[in-house]
C-alpha cells in the first residue's frame, strides 16, 4: 500500500484548493488605498535615438500625477548581469548599462523610455499616448540577425560595443587543440547546423508590480511577480535605487507561473518604487499580454553548428560546437550564465566522450532580452547532442538504442568527471533506457507503424537519453566561474508553543507545489500531521533569506535547508527532553514524534517539548535558551544530476505535414521522490513545454525588429489536443549522494529531454516513409515546415 502521508506519499496539492476556487491572491488582485496607475511608454521601433520627449501636454491631462523619463534615472544604477563571463582571450564580457528607463537610445520594440502615473489606468493610457505623440525618436537600422550583427561593425546596439559581441567563450579553452586533433583523426564526422528556437515564456499571469512608500518610516515595499524575491530586493535596493535592504520589503504573493521569466529584476519594479516615493501613494502596474510578449525575457535562441567525431560503429570520440547565442538588447540577470555554464558544461551528456569543446559567442541584437527559460541552456545542449547522435545513426545505419547504450556511462564509472568540468555523482543510465524501452514496447513498433499506415499516416519513433544539472552549486565554485551571487538557500523552522509549525523557506513557489511537498518532509521528520505545518514563502520580511526557485533547485537546495533546520530542532528537543525526563541527552532518541529515553517507556511527545520550550517552567534555563525555532542555510557540495530516457512516437500526415505526438514515454531518475503526484505533474508540464517548443512555438522578428509573433494570433502555444497522455515512470532511482534527502530535482527535465525525442521521431517517420533526403528540420517542426522539407 502506498503511503498516504509523509515523504513519498502522492498527496494532493493543498495550494490547488485556493487556485482552483479562485481564491489565490495575485499581485494585481491587491487593491490599495490611494493607489495610482502606471503606464509605460514603449518604443515602437527596434532601434532609435531619443531626440526629445516633451511632457507638457501629457502632464496637463486629467488625472496625471507624474511623468518619468530616462533622464530621471540616469544617475542611479543599472540592472546588472549576475554572472561575469570572460572571453577566450581573457577579456571580461562587455556589460552595457541597463537603465530603469531607456536613455539616449531605445534598443528593442517595447523598450520603455517613459512612464506616466495617473489616478486611473485609462487616464494614464491617454496621457501615455499623448506622450508618445510628443516624443521624437529617430529610427536607426535594426540589428536583428545574429550573424549580421557580428559582421557589421558600423551598426551597433550599444554605441560602445563595436561588434555587438558580449563575449566569445571557449569551454574548455585548454582542451581545444586536443578536440580538434581528435576530430581530425575520427573515422567519421557528423555535422549538424541547427537553430534552437526562441521562445516567449507565456506565464499565465503577466508581470505586475506595486510600489509603496511610507513617508513616516522611510520604508519601501514592492509587491511583485517574482520567482526570487530576495534577489529582486538585492538588485533593486543595492544596485539600482540605492535603498538600504532593511528599508525595502519585497513580497511575491501567489505567482501564476514564471518558467524563468520572473527570476529577474525588471525596470518596471524600480519605477513603481521611485514613483511611490515621489507621490507618497501606492503605484501599480500590470503588464498587458502584448507587453509580456515584448518585454518578458525570452528563452533559447541559439544558432549552433555541432560536429561529432566517431568510429564507424558509433563510438563517440569527440564533440565540438560553435554557437551564436542571442542576448537581445540588454543583459538580463542570468543571460550570460545560461548559454555558458548551464549549456557548455552539459555538452558531454550522459556519455563517455573523451573530447568536448564548446564555443559560444553571445550577441546583442535589437530584440527583447533573452535569459533562462525552463531548462535554461540544458535543453539547448541536449537538443544539439541528441539530434547529432540521431544523425550519426542514420549516416552510419546504426540502431539508435544500441548506440546510446554503447556510449552511456555505466554505474561503475561514478563519480565521473566530464571533459567539460562537471562531476556526475551517481546514475544508472542503462536502467532508465531499459525502462523506457519496455514502457514504449519498442519491439511492437512495426505493428503500430503498420496500423498508422493503414490510417494514411507515417509513424516514427524518437529517442533521447538526457542528463541535466540542477541546483547549481557550490557557491565557492560558481564564484570562481564568475557568479556574482551565492547559490545556497535558507529555511527557518518555527515550532509554535502549541506544537504546530511555521516554516519559512527561501524557495518561491509559483506553481510547483512547495506548500505541499515541504510540509510532507517536515511532517515526516517531526512525526506531526501535515495539517499542522504551514509553509511561508515569498516575503523578505518573514523569510531569513533565499535565492529563489529556478534550475530545479527548490527541493535539492531549499528542501535540504529545511531538513537541516529540522535536525537542529530535534537536537534542541533532545536537550529539553533530557531535562524533563531526567536522563542524559545521549540516551534520548527521537522517533515518530516522540522523544524517549532509550530502553525505557519514558517519553515526551513533540508537542509537550514544544510547549515546554515556550512555557519553560521545567526547563534547563541555565544552559538552554527557551523557544523552539531554528534556521539553516545550505550550500550544496555539487549540482544534482537527474537523467532519463524519453521515447516519443509521432504520426505524420504527409498531405498537410501535421505531426501528432501519439505516445510519449518518460523514464526518469530523479533520485528519491518526495511526492510522486507532484513529480508527475512537473514532468507533464515540462514535456508539454518541450512538445510546444518542438512542434509549435517560435518567435519571429522581421528585419526591422518588429515582433511578428506578438500575440496568440501568431504565437502558437501547445494545447491539450497537441499532447498525448504521458507515460511517466520514476522507478529508477539512484539517490543523490551529497544531499541528505537523496533528491535531484524534476522541474525542468521534461522540457530538457523531450524536444529532441520529438524531432528524432519526426525524422524517423519521414525516413520510414521514403523521404530519406530529410536529415533535419528546425524547430518548430510545424506542418508547413514538414511539408516543405518533404516536397521542397
Amino acid at each position: 500500500m502506498p503511503k498516504d502521508h509523509g515523504i513519498g506519499a502522492p498527496m494532493k496539492r493543498r495550494e490547488d484548493v485556493r487556485f482552483l476556487t479562485g481564491r489565490g491572491v495575485y499581485t494585481d488582485d491587491l487593491a490599495l488605498h490611494g493607489q495610482a496607475a502606471a503606464v509605460f511608454v514603449r518604443s515602437t521601433v527596434a532601434h532609435g535615438r531619443i531626440k526629445s520627449i516633451n511632457p507638457t501636454k501629457a502632464a496637463a491631462m486629467p488625472g496625471v500625477l507624474a511623468i518619468f523619463t530616462g533622464e530621471d534615472f540616469k544617475d542611479v544604477g543599472g540592472n546588472p548581469a549576475g554572472w561575469l563571463i570572460n572571453s577566450r582571450d581573457g577579456t571580461p564580457m562587455r556589460e552595457p548599462k541597463r537603465p530603469v528607463l531607456a536613455h539616449g537610445k531605445v534598443r528593442h520594440v517595447g523598450d520603455a523610455y517613459a512612464a506616466v502615473i495617473a489616478e486611473t489606468l485609462s487616464q494614464a493610457k491617454d496621457a501615455a499616448e499623448q506622450l508618445a505623440d510628443d516624443s521624437v525618436i529617430e529610427e536607426l537600422p535594426a540589428i536583428v540577425d545574429m550573424k549580421a550583427a557580428v559582421a557589421d561593425a558600423t551598426n551597433r546596439v550599444h554605441d560602445e560595443i563595436p561588434d555587438n559581441l558580449c563575449f566569445d567563450w571557449g569551454w574548455i579553452e585548454d582542451n581545444r587543440a586536443a578536440v580538434d586533433a581528435a576530430m581530425k583523426a575520427a573515422p567519421h564526422v557528423v555535422t549538424l547546423n541547427l537553430v534552437n528556437n526562441r521562445l516567449v515564456p507565456n506565464a499565465m499571469e503577466p508581470r505586475a508590480s506595486i510600489g509603496e512608500y511610507n513617508p513616516g518610516t522611510g520604508d519601501y515595499k514592492l509587491t511583485t511577480t517574482s520567482q526570487n524575491p530576495h534577489l529582486t530586493r538585492l538588485l533593486v535596493a543595492a544596485f539600482v535605487l540605492g535603498i538600504p535592504e532593511n528599508k525595502l520589503t519585497v513580497v511575491a504573493p501567489d505567482v501564476g507561473g514564471g518558467f524563468g521569466s520572473k527570476i529577474y529584476h525588471y525596470g518596471e519594479e524600480a519605477l513603481v518604487l521611485a514613483a511611490a516615493k515621489k507621490l507618497g501613494r501606492p503605484v501599480r502596474w500590470t503588464a498587458e499580454r502584448s507587453e509580456s510578449f515584448l518585454t518578458d525575457a525570452h528563452g533559447r535562441d541559439h544558432v549552433t553548428k555541432i560536429e561529432l567525431g566517431c568510429t564507424k560503429d558509433g563510438q563517440i570520440l569527440a564533440i565540438r560546437t560553435e554557437t551564436l547565442a542571442n542576448v537581445g538588447a540588454y543583459l538580463s540577470n542570468f543571460s550570460t550564465a545560461t548559454p555558458t555554464f548551464l549549456h557548455g558544461t552539459l555538452m558531454a551528456g550522459p556519455y563517455k566522450v573523451p573530447h568536448v569543446y564548446v564555443n559560444v559567442k553571445t550577441v546583442f541584437t535589437n530584440t527583447a532580452p533573452v535569459d533562462a527559460y525552463r531548462g535554461a541552456g540544458r535543453p539547448e545542449a541536449t537538443f544539439s547532442l541528441e539530434r547529432v547522435i540521431d544523425k550519426m545513426c542514420r549516416e552510419l545505419n546504426l540502431d539508435p538504442f544500441e548506440v546510446r547504450r554503447k556510449n552511456l556511462l555505466t554505474p561503475d564509472q561514478f563519480p565521473y568527471t566530464t571533459p567539460v568540468g562537471l562531476v556526475y555523482d551517481t546514475g544508472n543510465y542503462q536502467a532508465t533506457l531499459d525502462r523506457a524501452m519496455a514502457m514504449a514496447d519498442v519491439a511492437g513498433f512495426d505493428k503500430r507503424a503498420a496500423a498508422s499506415k493503414a490510417r494514411g499516416k507515417l509513424r516514427g519513433m524518437g529517442l533521447s537519453t538526457w542528463i541535466e544539472a540542477c541546483g547549481i552549486a557550490p557557491s565557492h565554485l560558481v564564484g570562481i566561474l564568475g557568479s556574482r551571487v551565492g547559490l545556497y538557500d535558507a529555511a527557518t523552522v518555527r515550532v509554535n508553543a502549541t506544537g504546530n509549525l511555521s516554516v519559512m523557506v527561501g524557495a518561491h513557489s509559483h506553481g510547483q507545489g512547495h506548500e505541499t511537498v515541504f510540509a510532507q518532509i517536515v511532517a515526516e521528520k517531526l512525526g506531526v500531521p501535515e495539517s499542522s505545518v504551514e509553509i511561508v514563502h515569498g516575503d523578505t520580511s518573514k523569510i531569513p533569506f533565499g535565492m529563489g526557485s529556478y534550475g530545479s533547485r527548490s527541493l535539492a537546495v531549499c528542501g535540504v535547508a529545511v531538513t537541516k533546520a529540522i535536525d537542529k530542532i530535534v537536537a534542541k528537543g533532545k536537550k529539553i527532553a533530557a531535562h524533563m525526563l531526567e536522563a542524559s541527552e545521549g540516551d534520548i532518541t527521537f522517533e515518530d514524534g516522540k522523544f524517549s529515553v532509550a530502553g525505557t517507556d519514558k517519553a515526551k511527545t513533540f508537542g509537550e517539548i514544544a510547549f515546554s520550550a515556550y512555557v519553560p517552567h521545567n526547563y534547563p534555563l541555565e544552559t538552554l535558551e527557551p523557544g523552539l525555532e531554528e534556521t539553516a542555510f545550505y550550500d550544496p557540495a555539487n549540482f544534482t544530476y537527474p537523467a532519463g530516457a524519453y521515447i516519443c512516437e509521432v504520426e505524420v500526415d504527409e498531405g498537410t505535414g501535421k505531426v501528432d505526438v501519439v505516445a510519449f514515454h518518460c523514464a526518469d531518475d530523479f533520485g528519491n521522490v518526495m511526492n510522486p503526484m507532484v513529480v508527475e505533474g512537473q514532468v507533464h508540464g515540462g514535456v508539454g513545454q518541450g512538445i510546444g517548443q518542438a512542434l509549435c512555438e517560435f518567435t519571429a522578428y522581421d528585419e526591422n525588429g518588429q515582433l511578428l509573433t506578438g500575440s496568440y494570433m501568431d504565437y502558437p502555444m501547445p494545447r491539450a489536443e497537441d499532447v498525448p497522455f504521458y507515460n511517466v515512470d520514476y522507478s529508477c532511482q539512484t539517490p543523490c549522494t551529497h544531499n541528505p534527502l537523496g533528491v535531484k530535482g524534476c522541474g525542468e527535465a521534461g522540457a530538457i529531454g523531450s524536444p529532441p525525442a520529438v524531432v528524432n521521431a519526426v525524422i524517423d517517420a519521414l525516413h520510414r516513409g521514403g523521404h530519406a533526403h530529410v536529415t533535419h528540420i528546425d524547430m518548430p517542426v510545424s506542418p508547413s515546415r514538414v511539408w516543405q522539407a518533404v516536397n521542397g
Binding site: S122, K125, E129, S290, G655, T656, G657, K658, C696, A700, L708, T709, Y712, M713, D714, Y715, P716, M717, S782, P783, S784, W787, Q788, N791
Partner: protein, 262 residues
C-alpha cells in the same frame, strides 16, 4: 479602450436608425470588435448592439432553405442547424473555443470577412443569400476581398439564407496559433452541381475553386481532383505557410471534404 456610448435596439428599424448616426458601429458578439477597441485600434462613438433584436436570432427552415438570424451565436448554429445542415453545424462547432462560440455571431463573422474565417466558405459554397436591412445579396456578390464586403454605409446583415445541399462537408486545417483556418474548404453538392468555397488560402480572401467544381460536378469523388493543380500565385503567404503550402492544402483538403461528404 476609449469611452463610447452604447445602444441596444430591439428592432431592425431602430438599429438602422441608430447606425445611421455619425460614429456609430454595429456590435454583435464583440469577439473581433472588442479586442480591437481594447487595443485602441478602433474608437467608435456609439456601439449599437444587434443582439437584442429578436428577428435577428435563431435558426429555422423557411423559403429558400435554412434561415439563420445574423445575431445567432455559433454555438446555437452548431446545435440547431445540426439536423438540417450538418456540415454547417459542424463548421460552427469548430470555430474558436466555447467562449468564442457562445458570443461570436454569423453576422459579425461575415460582416468582418476575415480572410481566415470559416463561415464565408460555407456562405459561398452554399450559394447562400445575405439578407440586410436594405436588400438581399447573393453570396457571389457579397465577398469582395480581404475584410471587405458589399455592405454599404449604415447597412447591416440581418440574416443569411442557406440552400441545403444533398451532401456537404467542411474541412478546416488550423492555423497553429489562432486556430482560425490556415485553409478551410467547404464542399457542397447540389442537384445542379457542386460548389467549393475556400477560405484562409487566397490572397484576396474567400474564393470558389472553379476547376474543382467542374471536376466534382462531373464526378463527385476525391479522385476526380487528381489531375488538378492549384496555382500558388493566387495564394496567401505568411509566417505559418507559404503560398505553395497553401496551394497544396487547398487540394488536399478539398479531397478530404469530398470524402467526408460521402
Amino acid at each position: 479602450m476609449h469611452n463610447f456610448d452604447f445602444a441596444k435596439p430591439s428592432t431592425i428599424a431602430d438599429a438602422a436608425k441608430a447606425l445611421a448616426a455619425d460614429g456609430a458601429q454595429a456590435l454583435s458578439g464583440g469577439q473581433t470588435l472588442i479586442p480591437t477597441m481594447k487595443q485602441r485600434l478602433a474608437a467608435p462613438a456609439t456601439l449599437v448592439s444587434l443582439t437584442g433584436i429578436a428577428e435577428m436570432q435563431g435558426v429555422c427552415v423557411g423559403d429558400g432553405g435554412l434561415h439563420i438570424g445574423a445575431a445567432t451565436p455559433h454555438a446555437v448554429v452548431a446545435k440547431e442547424a445540426a439536423k438540417h445542415y450538418p456540415a454547417l453545424a459542424d463548421l460552427a462547432g469548430g470555430i474558436g473555443d466555447p467562449a468564442v462560440r457562445s458570443r461570436g455571431t454569423i453576422g459579425g463573422s461575415i460582416a468582418n470577412n476575415d480572410p481566415a474565417a470559416c463561415y464565408p466558405s460555407a456562405v459561398l459554397a452554399s450559394g447562400a443569400t445575405v439578407v440586410t436591412n436594405k436588400r438581399k445579396i447573393a453570396a457571389d456578390d457579397y465577398f469582395q476581398g480581404l475584410f471587405s464586403t458589399a455592405l454599404e454605409e449604415g447597412e447591416f446583415v440581418t440574416s443569411v439564407v442557406f440552400p441545403i445541399p444533398q451532401k456537404a462537408a467542411y474541412v478546416k486545417f488550423n492555423q497553429p496559433a489562432s486556430r482560425f483556418a490556415l485553409t478551410g474548404v467547404f464542399v457542397a453538392k447540389f442537384a445542379n452541381g457542386v460548389r467549393v468555397g475556400v477560405t484562409g488560402a487566397g490572397n484576396d480572401g474567400v474564393f470558389r475553386w472553379a476547376e474543382a467544381e467542374r471536376a466534382l460536378s462531373a464526378d463527385f469523388s476525391a479522385s476526380a481532383l487528381s489531375g488538378l493543380k492549384v496555382d500558388p500565385a493566387g495564394m496567401n503567404a505568411d509566417l505559418h505557410g507559404s503560398a505553395a503550402y497553401r496551394a497544396n492544402l487547398v487540394k488536399v483538403l478539398t479531397g478530404r471534404a469530398v470524402m467526408a461528404a460521402g
